[in-house]
């Protein structure tokens, strides 16, 4: 893996931890950004590269769990690895259930950390891909006219053309034309594909 295109974010209020982890990860050719508080991390302008976050739980003001929550709120999908000097099993379960990749006790070996980072980055890849796709689909949906959008919704639910026609009170032919345009704009070759696209974009329920 070409590590130079990835950033590992390190958040720990202990300067030694930040510095030593920075040196360690840089020796593995990662790009590293360190912060001594959650606020500093959130304020940083994140470039759009593959990344993951290594964070302590005990932090000033906003602790690790609060940071995890905030990131979820703001739609930041960077995977989190928690490192801590005082963890216990209930805490680790809580962290993992909230979506953390791993929960490592200090002190840890470089091997342990790198394993978790590898895991986190592969997850990040998947998440980024999903996010990009979703954005693209939403872009295409934005190009649909109101009528086309309606038809899209009905088709996404699995309704047949003639039923849509009855429902909308228009002719079957009109519906067929609309559907054709929708397929074109959405770049779907089959109806099944269209339904998948709808699901990926998060449009599954009807909106009459």
């Amino acid at each position: 893996m070409n590590n130079s295109n990835t950033i590992i974010y390190v958040v720990d209020d202990d300067v030694s931890i930040c510095r030593s982890l920075s040196l360690l990860l840089k020796s593995h050719e990662f790009r590293v950004e360190t912060f001594t508080s959650a606020a500093a991390f959130l304020a940083f302008k994140h470039p759009k590269v593959l990344s993951c976050l290594v964070s302590d739980i005990r932090l000033p003001n906003i602790n690790g769990f609060a940071l995890q929550e905030k990131m979820a709120e703001e739609g930041i999908i960077t995977p989190i690895i928690f490192i801590t000097g005082c963890g216990d099993i209930p805490m680790s379960v809580k962290a993992i259930k909230a979506g953390a990749i791993d929960f490592i006790s200090k002190p840890f070996t470089d091997k342990k950390l790198l394993e978790s980072i590898t895991l986190a980055l592969s997850k990040a890849k998947v998440l980024n891909k999903d996010q990009a796709e979703k954005a693209k689909i939403k872009q295409r949906i934005a190009t649909l006219s109101p009528r086309e959008l309606e038809v899209f919704h009905f088709v996404a639910q699995g309704m047949m053309n003639k039923n849509i026609a009855t429902k909308r009170g228009t002719s079957l032919q009109t519906i067929k034309i609309h559907r054709g345009r929708v397929m074109q704009k959405m770049q779907a070759k089959t109806v099944t594909e269209l339904i998948h696209l709808a699901q990926k974009a998060g449009i599954t329920s009807s909106s009459d």
């Binding site: 202990d14 030694s16 931890i17 510095r19 030593s20 982890l21 040196l23 360690l24 840089k26 020796s27 593995h28 005990r58 490192i83 000097g85 005082c86 216990d88 099993i89 209930p90 680790s92 379960v93 993992i96 990749i101 791993d102 006790s105 200090k106 002190p107 840890f108 070996t109 470089d110 091997k111 394993e115 590898t118 895991l119 592969s122």
Partner: protein, 440 residues
């Protein structure tokens, strides 16, 4: 106190006249008697003929009557006082061979549960029923027969059989010749006080323990946390340096490795300290071991899939609930599963993890964690569960010995064996929750 009073005769007659006019109140009665006594004494010395002697006699009689009244009153007050006392007071006769009760105040009656009528004239020792401590009763008897005072605290039983603690003091009463004629006893109910003292003692113990353990635990916990920071940093620095020097400077590499080893040794100490301080007494509850296994696997799932390990379950859904500490058992499961994962690390072939549960006997459940690794070498088998044994290059070796302690504390056994085909199985037994079993 009898003072010699030198009185001016003139003044005395004035006083007598005055007191005759004044209303005599109770308080003044004694004064009156005193004065009159003095007056009569003086008059005796100055005796006149005839009518004076008669008057003297009458005065004497009146004085006698007043004296009686005061004496009666004093007795009345004293009796009332004894009866009002919150302690039990009783008087027993000492002349006969048995010790008859001749007085028992209200509190004594309430304390013992016997009424005045029931005890008056009765042998004092009849109060002590069958349940009383015979040794103490004998001791009291012997002490009283020797005319000596008794003091002790004992467990008593009321007439209705109810228990109470009392402090008992029986003191001899002697006549003018010094012979013991009676005993007076004071009995105080100390049940409440004893209970309170016990509670206070318990609370103090608990507080001391909690403070000692709590403060210590807190202190060590924060110490452990503080120390783990530089330990982490040192480890990371050394490992970073190792990487940078990869393939060069063998001597520096060696030194760096020593730094890493010692750092890990320190980390182990901290880990052990932390473990020791965690309240080692497991908090038991009813646990569905299958659910616990599922939860634990969920926790570690990312690692399982990342290592291309297939995990299979053979969980018997008919096994009863087990009796255990959820957190500690989860620790054991995590330890065994991650050990198995490590064991299959360098395997090229099929990586399979199999977790199974089944009823071992009427009161035990068996849990097995089976891997398809290389198995455990014969020479390691014996040392497997000892504190610092590890075959991993950067492992710490604490897991299995702690796991074994936990399982043993639960009343089960943890052991390992090599599989017939390949790999090893770690297995442990756990007692089922007997209470539930009986209810099922």
């Amino acid at each position: 106190m009898k003072k010699k009073i030198i009185v001016n005769p003139k003044k005395v007659s004035k006083v007598i006249k005055k007191s005759a006019v004044k209303k005599i109140t109770r308080i003044n009665l004694e004064d009156k008697i005193r004065r009159q006594t003095n007056a009569i004494r003086i008059r005796d010395g100055q005796l006149k003929q005839g009518e004076d002697r008669e008057k003297l006699g009458a005065d004497r009689e009146r004085l006698g009557a007043d004296r009686e009244k005061v004496a009666e009153e004093q007795i009345h007050i004293q009796t009332k006082a004894m009866d009002s006392a919150s302690d039990g007071i009783f008087i027993i006769g000492a002349k006969k061979f048995n010790f008859p009760i001749i007085y028992a105040n209200t509190s004594f009656q309430i304390l013992t549960g016997y009424t005045k009528n029931e005890v008056m004239g009765q042998d004092y020792f009849l109060i002590y029923g069958v349940d009383a401590d015979l040794r103490v009763v004998e001791e009291i008897k012997v002490t009283l027969r020797q005319g000596r005072p008794f003091h002790g605290e004992m467990l008593n039983f009321r007439k209705n059989g109810k228990k109470f603690w009392s402090s008992l003091r029986i003191t001899p009463v002697r006549d003018a010749r010094g012979i013991v004629t009676h005993f007076v006893g004071i009995q105080t109910d100390t049940t409440l006080m004893k209970q309170r003292n016990l509670e206070i003692e318990e609370q103090r113990e608990e507080l001391l323990h909690v403070t000692r353990v709590g403060k210590l635990a807190e202190f060590v916990s924060s110490l452990a946390h503080e120390i783990s920071q530089p330990l982490t940093a040192i480890l990371a620095y050394a490992q970073a340096a190792q990487r940078i020097l990869a393939g060069r400077e063998p001597q520096l590499q060696e030194i760096l490795q020593y730094i890493i080893n010692d750092d890990q040794r320190a980390a182990e100490v901290i880990r052990r300290l932390r473990y020791l301080l965690k309240k080692n007494k497991p908090t038991f509850e009813s646990i569905d071991i299958n659910v616990l296994i599922n939860d634990t696997v969920t926790l570690i799932m990312p690692h399982i899939t990342a290592k291309n390990i297939t995990i299979n379950f053979k969980l018997d859904n008919k096994i009863p609930l087990i009796h255990g500490d959820r957190i500690q058992l989860q620790q054991v499961l995590l330890n065994l599963i991650s050990n198995s994962i490590e064991a299959m690390e360098s395997m090229d072939g099929q990586r399979e993890l199999m977790i199974s549960t089944l009823s071992k006997s009427a009161d035990m459940v068996l849990v097995e964690v089976k891997d398809s690794g290389y198995g455990i070498p014969a020479e390691n088998m014996k040392k497997l569960f000892s504190h610092f044994f590890t075959s991993k290059t950067d492992g710490l070796g604490m897991g299995l010995s702690i796991s074994r302690s936990i399982i043993e504390a639960h009343g089960g056994r943890l052991d390992a064996k090599n599989n017939a085909d390949h790999g090893a199985t770690f297995y442990f037994t756990i007692p089922i929750n007997m209470k539930n079993a009986n209810e099922q």
